[in-house]
Amino acid sequence: MLLAMSCNNKGDKEIMGWAPVYAAAEDITVQNESPLPPIENAGKIYIRGDYFYQVENGKGIHVIDVSNKEQPVQQAFIRVAGAQELSIRGNNLYVNSFNDLVVIDISDVQNSREVHRMKNTFHMFNSMTPPQSGYFECVDESRGTVVSWQQKMLVNPKCRY
């Protein structure tokens, strides 16, 4: 860490550290996608009646018709950025979008839509601090949800843990 520290000619302290990566505004939306994407980064699973749900890690929820168990058919993909978890009650899908709890009306699954959102209600993504201790660029919550961290050269970093 000490080795990575240096001073430039203006006397600013430069040091290798972590900087937050914020979710892009368009990531925080719920939309149905067509054509249906394949299951690639397969995530957690959920079954209710004739429908099986599988998370596409970080991207959304695959809705699969399993009324014929020998021939499951992908029926919809609900794009939810940061999705990892789901549960269902009535016609409502409860899912996380990063650290938001989002309720999605799935009564017409092809036209699923967000009906409620609780922002930053949990810390599913432990995103407020970087993955390693040391200097980091302070989080500016007005810039949105921190979804990951990247290493970069920081100038006069004020945050450290």
Partner: protein, 257 residues
């Protein structure tokens, strides 16, 4: 007056039934509108509450009004919390070094009942009235994420829920999720397949290993056994098995990328 009431009764019932069928399918009627998740889940709905475990806390949301969840409590549990499971009025919470049991007799305010610490490793929990089954796994890809160097199925006697006692440790390869189906226990042992155990002898706490099932060299992460079918979460999709004979899963359909 009484006569009018009886005349009105069928009308009232019809109105009530219409009111229900409007927003709930017959299927959701039977299940209270809720389905079943895997053992790796961090979300679980029990009656009118959605329970969520994040990295350190158990957060309870009242979802009586489905589309207007209200956070009613937020309880610090420990560190590196990973999974939540429900049996009757208990929540079983898995962290990287412990199993915690909370009572939801008061559903809005889960109350601590007991915990059992074990070696540092990742771990989901499932339980019946006698035993809790926990898998502990050292991470292959990131040793620091789960720590530990143990891969096993642990059996806790929970007959006295306040004092869970470790009664068996069965070595496994790289176990992830697990699922109980009556007297059968399924353990997703990564690349070693889906392992099937008979647990019908409640006097012998050691699950009796029967066999392993594999599909196209895939990695088994989690499973849900429900109503005669087993759904497995694989590395790149899922497989459905017929488990009308629970010891002999028969592969039906799958979507694997």
């Amino acid at each position: 007056m009484k006569r009018y009431f009886y005349l009105l009764l069928p009308v009232l019932m019809a109105v009530l039934m219409l009111g229900c069928s409007k927003d709930q399918s017959p299927d959701s009627f039977n299940t209270g509108g809720t389905g079943t998740g895997g053992s790796l889940a961090r979300f679980i709905i029990v009656n009118n509450y959605l329970y969520v475990v994040d990295d350190q806390n158990l957060i309870s949301y009242d979802i009586t009004s489905f589309r207007n969840p209200k956070e009613v409590s937020n309880i610090p549990i420990g560190f590196n919390i990973e999974t939540i499971y429900n049996l009757d009025d208990k929540l079983f919470i898995g962290s990287q070094n412990a199993m915690y049991i909370y009572s939801i007799t008061d559903p809005a305010r889960p109350a601590y009942e007991a915990s059992a610490t074990h070696l540092r490793a990742c771990d989901p929990v499932v339980a019946n009235e006698n035993y809790a089954y926990v898998t502990v796994r050292s991470s292959l890809t990131n040793a620091s994420a789960c720590g530990g160097n143990v891969n096993a199925l642990l059996v806790y006697n929970i007959a006295d829920i306040q004092y869970p006692t470790l009664v068996n440790t069965l070595e496994m390869a790289n176990p992830h999720g697990l699922s109980l189906y009556g007297n059968t226990l399924y353990v997703c042992d990564g690349a070693q397949g889906l392992k099937i155990f008979d647990i019908s002898d409640t006097y012998n706490s050691e699950p009796q290993y029967l066999k392993a099932v594999e599909t196209s060299d895939n990695i088994y992460f989690d499973c849900i056994a429900k109503d005669g079918y087993l759904y497995t979460m694989m590395e790149n999709g899922f497989v459905i098995y017929d488990i009308s004979n629970p010891h002999e899963p028969r592969e039906l359909g799958k979507i694997l990328h």
